[in-house]
């Protein structure tokens, strides 16, 4: 797996891709693989305030529930509607069509706390 280098990664296996003041957030391929077959995705509502490192919702697989942590702070501006109907998309395209939410960043500098693609790659390499 090659992790796209147009975004930054958390130790909890989320990613954020920043364009202007909007960050698109998702979970990594490593995360979806660890979770297994995903059956529910719970995300906050549009307008919700989220904080870096705090809960953003949860992903539930056949096996278990896992918390999602927000990679950035800000306000949720968009929620990916695909996931309510087709949660399995998160297994198929975690870095693309199955993004979770878009967040208007309130502290853009936070992004420097996160890992580059290369760092994340070696992080998950060491973990497994």
């Amino acid at each position: 797996m090659t992790y796209p280098d147009d975004r930054r990664y958390t130790k909890e296996h989320e990613w954020v891709r920043v364009e202007g003041d909007i960050g698109t957030v998702g979970i990594t391929d490593h995360a979806q693989h660890e979770l297994g077959d995903i059956v529910y995705v719970d995300t906050p509502k549009i307008g919700a305030r989220v904080d870096q490192g705090k809960s953003l919702g949860s992903v539930e697989s056949v096996k278990a529930v896992s918390e999602i942590y927000s990679p950035v702070s800000g306000e949720v501006t968009e929620v990916n509607g695909i996931l309510a109907q087709s949660p399995e998309k998160l297994n198929q395209d975690p870095h693309g069509a199955a993004w979770l939410v878009k967040i208007r960043l309130s502290a853009a500098a936070e992004i420097t706390n996160l890992m580059s693609a290369a760092d994340y790659q070696s992080y998950v390499g060491a973990e497994s």
């Binding site: 693989h33 297994g36 077959d37 529910y40 056949v62 096996k63």
Partner: protein, 369 residues
């Protein structure tokens, strides 16, 4: 990593790794939780066949002139009813009526019983039986001498038959035969933990990898796949088979767990009998019941169950049921509430989600052997 090195491994550990299985710590064992994917593996067992490594399970052998008496004294089911070559599901209980473990007892000979026990309980079970051995019998901890493979699914018989001269069709459900598979001595039991037809095969650990590969090869034309403990759990839950540590444990009696059928109270004395008699006389306080989620959510192990807003019980197992397209689970409820058709609420991450108690088993195969 240091942590992983401490985990116990089955003889098939390297095989699982080479197949790209996702491994997890399962009660101290480094076990495959899935290969191709849990749902895929679940469906393959219902439709064709799956192969499971269950070598982490323990084996205890009881031999000697009074082997039957000892086995009968420590288990709930009636050992006297077993014929040579027959097996049954049974309970090892404490005096207070709670489970030490749930086990399979195989009668190999009049003076020889072969017990298959849960991986994480095997040392405890062995000590428990040995402590009760006031008989002319020998109790042997035999787990190191056996690997166990489970081939499960409607095609299991056809696949395994390619590898053994034993007439598998002649082995009835919960019977077994000592024969050979791929030329190696094997105890072949028509048992399983999936709700499908199938066999559990006990062989020498050194032969396990070869047998595993030969079964997969023989099963290729039937669509067999290696399956992990993830699918094993959804399959057994659909079939409503108890899992130690969830439906049953030291504080739960077989009567509460809907396992009255493995308790032969009139067979004579056995450990836990007095407590069960008392429980029967005074009436049960709680009972295991099945439920289906009505609202969006999955009631999982440990979640609180409420009735009319009042905390009333807890979930022991819960999961999507891939063969039923609904979310199912088992829970303990007060006896007066423990009947089907009752609306309950399962607290899913602090939110009440509607569910309904239902008949079990959730799943029954349509092609029984």
């Amino acid at each position: 990593m240091a942590e992983a090195a401490a985990l116990k491994r089955t003889p098939l550990h390297a095989v699982h790794r080479s197949l790209g299985a996702k491994m997890v710590d399962f009660g101290g064992w480094d076990m495959p939780v899935q290969y191709s994917g849990l749902l895929d593996e679940h469906h393959v067992v219902r439709r064709a066949a799956g192969l499971f490594d269950v070598s982490h399970m323990g084996e205890i052998e009881i031999r000697g002139r009074e082997a039957a008496r000892l086995t009968d004294a420590v288990t709930t089911n009636a050992v006297a009813k077993l014929k040579i070559g027959q097996a049954h599901y049974s309970g090892l209980l404490y005096e207070h009526g709670g489970f030490v473990d749930d086990i399979l007892v195989h009668k190999v000979a009049d003076d020889h019983f072969f017990l298959c026990v849960n991986a994480s309980n095997q040392e405890k079970d062995f000590e428990h039986i040995r402590a009760a051995n006031h008989y002319d019998a020998q109790v042997e901890f035999a787990s190191d001498r056996y690997a166990q493979l489970a081939i499960q699914g409607p095609k299991a018989l056809a696949i395994l038959q390619k590898l053994t001269p034993v007439d598998l069709g002649a082995i009835r459900y919960y019977w077994f035969t000592d024969g050979t598979v791929s030329g190696t001595p094997a105890r072949i039991a028509r048992t399983g933990y999936t709700g499908e037809d199938g066999f559990e095969i006990y062989v020498a650990p050194a032969e396990a990898a070869r047998l595993w590969n030969e079964i997969l090869e023989a099963g290729r034309e039937f669509g067999i796949k290696p399956c992990g403990l993830g699918a094993r759990n959804t399959l057994r839950l659909e079939a409503t088979m108890a899992l130690y540590g969830h439906e049953i444990h030291a504080s739960i009696s077989p009567l509460e767990a809907n396992l009255g059928w493995i308790v032969k109270i009139d067979k004579g004395e056995f450990t836990g009998r007095a407590a069960l008699q008392k429980q029967k006389a005074s009436g049960l306080r709680r009972k295991l019941v099945g439920f289906e989620m009505r609202g969006r959510g999955i009631g999982r192990d440990g979640y609180e169950v409420r009735i009319d807003g009042v905390p009333s019980g807890w979930v022991t197992s819960g999961s999507p049921a891939p063969s039923l397209n609904k979310n199912i689970g088992l829970c303990y409820l007060p006896i007066e509430q423990a009947h089907t058709g009752r609306a309950i609420e399962v607290m899913v991450r602090n939110q009440p989600v509607e569910a309904l108690t239902v008949e079990t088993p959730f799943y029954k195969r349509v092609n029984p052997s």
